[in-house]
Amino acid sequence: MKYSIPTEEYVTSGTVACQGCGAVLALRYALKALGPDTVLSVPACCWSVIDGPFPYSSTLVPLFHTAFETAAAAASGIRNGFAIRGNDHTTVMAWAGDGGTVDIGIQALSGAVERDEDIIYVCYDNEAYMNTGIQRSGSTPWGAWTTTTPVRHFKKEEKKDMVEIMAAHGIRYTATACVSHAEDFVKKMKKAKQIRGTKYLQVFASCPPGWKMQSEDSIKALRLAVQTGIWPLYEVENGVYKINHKPKEFKPVEEYLKLQGRFRHLKPEDVEHVTRWRDRRWKLLEAKVAMTRELYGAEAAET
């Protein structure tokens, strides 16, 4: 059999994740990239439960459960605790959902980035508070149904762009990734591991129950997100933007939206709204690529 990513597993079978869970694949891939010398700081999120109830765990690296707001702060503490004891080789990774990152966890994350703590922060983004039953978060996209944005009042606020917020901090390395594009994600995690300082990755992770779709469509939905341009794959390293993958032609956003019940209520004008958002965002992204290449030099962009 061909293996496009490392074969060693650091998450066992037997997790209590839902069928088709993208969040499991996200951590599975992340740990394949980082290896066993890794410690996880996990706030309240799906993975607080997925890992398993006491006395069992499914991860083959130490996992420290911490309070909802604190993934980045606890990770900072762990990193400094290791450092003062002479350990600067263990990777410390904060592993959080979107709620614990863009809403309640944003302060601790912002503080950690500003201090340039030597940690990797990965947000596995399934676009709502899934663990507590699909409530909207700041990462929920415009148009989505959630239990707190029911169909008559579907979310009319745009998704918070966390990667851009990170870039605005002057973070050394930030990137988007997608579970469907496992090789790209693993490559980015390996890259992050080599960089000293704070690194932030946001990996798109599907949630069949939360997105109201069949479990078998889990990867397909993520792939469509990339192919429709709704989820761009890009990196910002030392301020220089680089797009990792641009589809020659974007697939119509409907293909992505119609796969998921959470978008079923959208009318043609709503779909247009999403399309305009996608286009506007890509224009800005490409402008940033050109601008930062000019400002900070071509060599930095060609990694």
């Binding site: 765990s57 459960h65 309070a67 702060a73």
Partner: protein, 385 residues
């Protein structure tokens, strides 16, 4: 080596002598000098610690928890709003059984804004599972940082030492700084029983527990607190042997033959001694008893010192709204089953930093000696009329 130190600096030097390894702290008046001095000590190479300049107190405690879980000796300091903000993580540190030490400057809770002292901030946290030491002098403060780590690391519970805002935090007193080599003998390098080193295994800490084992885990915490009382006393005795200073968990002043005994804590304990002397000079057989520990509550020591007294008074620089002063409740309750139960007065004094003078304590002693209690709350020094 003797230095003249404010309470805040006494904390800083205590953390240096205790070789705190990770300090994660956020500034708040009146604690700021603690972290400023620690920064200085670290910058000067006198103290070898990582100072994480976190962006809030909640993150401060979260970072201390992370550092302690990773096997390092973690320390922080805060006050009032800051302590309240980190409340969730105080519970976390205790439940996670991590020996973090915190110095809290007792400052009144807002609103209205204030920087002056009362004990409500720490009293409100007495259910978190943290050991609580209430300190009377700057010498005690420095020594308590060291003792707190020694005890916390043994019983696997976090500990806070508490001191009055301004009356102690900003008041200079002579402090004998122990020789650090001797401190190292008393308090060796922290060896965590459980840590996060991947080389040692890959457990998860704090996993979902349901109703299957949560109860028993809490029982373990209570058992640890009960054990802590003995450990605190033993470690204080050892400290006394090695450094020549010790701090009884309940310390009487002219208490043995007293008929009327007033329980006090923090700086009021010092003031009370003068008031006791004055009362004695007038023929009132008064005494005072400083209560150093609120958690674990030193029940046997309270019962012992209260035995044979005609009447007791308790001076609380705090109030649990809807009930009464916290030390009053605790003392009254622990005497409930005693065959001989003296009458007991509850006084509230000094809220919001109002000065509690020798005169004020003397008045409270006189009331205690003079009449039976009429209410549970006697407001002392308030502008009621």
């Amino acid at each position: 080596m003797k230095k003249v130190l404010t309470g805040n600096h006494a904390v800083s030097y205590g953390s240096m002598l205790a070789r705190a390894e990770v300090v994660a702290a956020y500034p708040i008046t009146p604690q700021t000098q603690i972290v400023e001095k620690i920064s200085e000590l670290c910058a000067d190479g006198v103290m070898d610690a990582k100072f994480i300049k976190v962006e809030s107190e909640h993150s401060a405690m979260a970072a201390c928890i992370g550092a302690s879980a990773a096997g390092a000796r973690a320390f922080t300091a805060t006050s009032a709003q800051g302590l309240a903000l980190m409340d969730e993580m105080l519970h976390w540190a205790a439940h996670a059984r991590l020996p973090v030490v915190l110095a809290n400057i007792n400052r009144s809770m807002a609103p209205p804004w204030t920087i002056w002292t009362d004990q409500n901030d720490t009293i409100s946290r007495r259910d978190t599972g943290w050991i609580q030491y209430y300190c009377e002098s700057n010498q005690e403060v420095t020594d308590s940082v060291i003792q707190a780590f020694k005890v916390a690391e043994q019983v696997e519970l976090p500990a806070m030492l508490v001191l009055d805002s301004f009356y102690l935090s900003h008041t200079s007193e002579p402090v004998d700084l122990a020789d650090i080599a001797l401190v190292d003998k008393y308090l060796p390098k922290y060896q965590a029983k459980h840590d996060l080193d991947p080389a040692k295994g890959h457990p998860a800490y704090g996993a979902l527990c349901n109703d299957e084992w949560y109860y028993e885990l809490q029982i373990k915490m209570q058992w640890a607190m009960e054990k802590a009382l003995d450990v605190i006393i033993a470690e204080d005795a050892l400290f006394g042997e090695m450094f020549g200073r010790s701090y009884p968990v309940v310390e009487g002043y002219r208490a043995d033959d007293a008929e009327y005994l007033v329980f006090v804590s923090s700086t009021i304990a010092s003031t009370a001694k003068d008031a006791v002397d004055r009362a004695r000079a007038e023929g009132i057989k008064a005494g005072s008893a400083k209560v150093r520990l609120l958690r674990p509550f030193p029940k046997p020591q309270i019962r012992k010192i209260a035995k044979g007294k005609k009447r007791l008074g308790v001076i609380d620089r705090n109030i649990s709204y809807g009930s009464e002063g916290a030390f009053y409740t605790e003392i009254k309750s622990c005497l409930y089953h005693e065959l001989q139960r003296p009458e007991i007065h509850g006084f509230i004094a000094g809220l919001g930093g109002r000065d509690v003078t020798v005169d004020a304590v003397y008045e409270m002693i006189k009331i205690t000696a003079g009449r039976s209690p009429e209410t549970d709350i006697n407001w002392q020094g308030a502008k009621l009329a």
